[in-house]
Point group: C2
Chain length 335, copies 2
């Protein structure tokens, strides 16, 4: 269990600090701007969906299972590929019958730390988010919650759902709960910056300049704290997508999008909600202009990119799941 290993790591870190005393190793370097911190170890867990190893294992199977798409072609992992930092590196993802969605697929990594899900925050929890793509007609395109449950039954998930959710068995809600539980294990500790912050590693001079620059320029007023996101939703006057307004219809929500975390941002190109910005350097330049009315020099952009690259963490090790399937017959896919 990820949580357990995180707790173990946390305990080890405390012990390390106790015995390190006043030595330099283990101390936070003095130049790190206030607020910046190591990735938290404890993911918030809703009280009605406690973590368990069996639930995480079930969630992993569901996450990788193309049976949750009408055609049998797409799984969660198709667009949020855990082999490529929880994204597909597409501007907008390919879905059912080669349709494309309207927004860039954000990374699933560390998503348990976000206050709300989706670019516009329309889903409060991972449990809510996980119900979206299977039924989205341009994504996985199942017709209804009942269709999803029928697929899971046909595939042979009954016993495993019964074991994990002892009373409920297979349901769309429990499918989402299991996926969310798995996603809460997909965190990326031990980025170069995290090691540097703990006195256990170094970052380059360029990265240090970038670290100071993002605080100086004001990026960290939103990209704040250990997550490098204040977990809020702010206006970003860029592109034609009206963001949260497209959900609520409120003028105040015009072009409002979540403040994306910088964690692993170097590995999740292309950028922004429309995915039209191909490089991280371009994204930094655009953000400074649009959000801070600041024109950065090329050298400043390069320094900031060097800093952002230190926020790439370590992916959890994942054993590829063996999915349940009935013997001697196929599932029924549809165009």
């Amino acid at each position: 269990m990820k949580l357990c290993s995180n707790i173990a790591r946390s305990a080890a870190a405390v012990l390390f600090l106790l015995f390190a005393g006043s030595a330099i190793a283990g101390e936070r370097p003095a130049d790190i701007p206030e607020g910046m911190g190591i990735l938290p170890v404890n993911v918030p867990v809703p009280t009605d969906n406690p973590m368990s190893a069996a639930k995480v294992e079930l969630g992993k199977k569901l996450y990788f299972d193309p049976a949750l798409s009408k055609s049998g072609q797409f799984s969660c992992n198709s667009c949020h590929n855990l082999g490529t930092w929880g994204v597909d590196n597409q501007a907008t993802s390919i879905g059912h019958r080669w349709q494309r969605g309207g927004r860039n697929a954000p990374t699933v990594l560390n998503s348990g730390f976000w206050s709300k899900q989706f670019w516009d925050g329309r889903a409060p929890l991972l449990e809510d988010q996980a119900k979206g793509p299977p039924l989205n007609p341009v994504e996985m395109a199942l017709g209804s919650e009942a269709d999803a449950v029928a697929r899971l039954q046909m595939a042979g998930y009954n016993a495993e759902f019964d074991a994990v959710f002892d009373k409920g068995g297979i349901s769309f809600d429990n499918m989402a709960k299991a996926i969310a539980a798995f996603e809460r294990t997909l965190n990326t500790p031990d980025a170069a910056f995290d090691l540097y912050l703990q006195g256990k590693g170094k970052i380059s001079a360029a990265a240090k300049r970038g670290m100071l620059k993002v605080a100086d320029v004001g990026c960290t007023s939103c990209h704040a704290g250990a997550l490098f996101s204040n977990n809020k939703f702010v206006a970003f006057q860029y592109g034609s997508d009206t963001g949260l307004k497209s959900v609520t219809g409120k003028a105040d929500d015009d072009h409002v999008f979540r403040v994306q975390s910088w964690r692993n941002v170097a590995m999740t190109a292309p950028y922004f909600h429309d995915g039209k910005t191909a490089t991280l350097a371009e994204a930094v330049d655009v953000m400074a202009r649009v959000q801070l009315d600041t024109v950065l020099s090329k050298a400043e952009v390069a320094d900031i990119v060097a800093f952002l690259e230190t926020l790439t963490g370590v992916l959890p090790s994942i054993t590829y799941p063996q999915l349940p399937r009935p013997a001697g017959q196929t599932l029924e896919w549809h165009e």
Copy 2:
């Protein structure tokens, strides 16, 4: 390494037999028809592509990497999914721009044991087969070998190819060699039948009847030996696909297809080269009629299916690979 563990298992089995003496455990049950045997442990390896742990690891990454498709959507694993017994359970697979291929995707499992690859045997080795799908316009749709190499370079595979193929570095040939090396580890020992054959387990009475029936009726004249395939290519007058003739143009090759192995056949529905046969029971019925001019009773079909289900082995455990990608930029995909 799979081969090493297979060798270890093989040695353990020999020791077990030595010490088991004349006890029943460890002895081959007398009722098993001649020729039937446990899955071999040693996969044939071409002399110009020796196995190594690093090569297998590189091949695994390539196998799971959608960068080998024009759109960035498809990897080898999309159609030969290792979570679902090396197949996608589609009649014919979905490829580039939602096109479908003409033949059912056969399982990659145990494919290192086949004498030739593809339904029509047009590829002598896995190394040859692995070069097909990336360049097939209805599958992964890359334009040329050079396009594939360019993708691998952009993704950042250079160092890993150099480490594995010390002189050659990145090339289309070496890509295929690495994928083939990985595929030679994808074998499925320890099916219920294999354990039964070694006196380590039981199979049902129905499965035993089926085991005798397939020998009695003559199925095993082609589905022969431990692989339950004689590794030959025979005429199968079923459907409009002319098989090997479509490659060679020779009348003798009309409707010639490979004798598929029965290993894991219960998990690789739908059946035959066109994937139009949904259930294993129907496939057994059709084969008996077309190839043996025999009409099986429903009870006989059920017994044979019960036997075939005992040939489902144990999948190798696979750690999902982390794929190389450049920092701060995306690869260039194409429609």
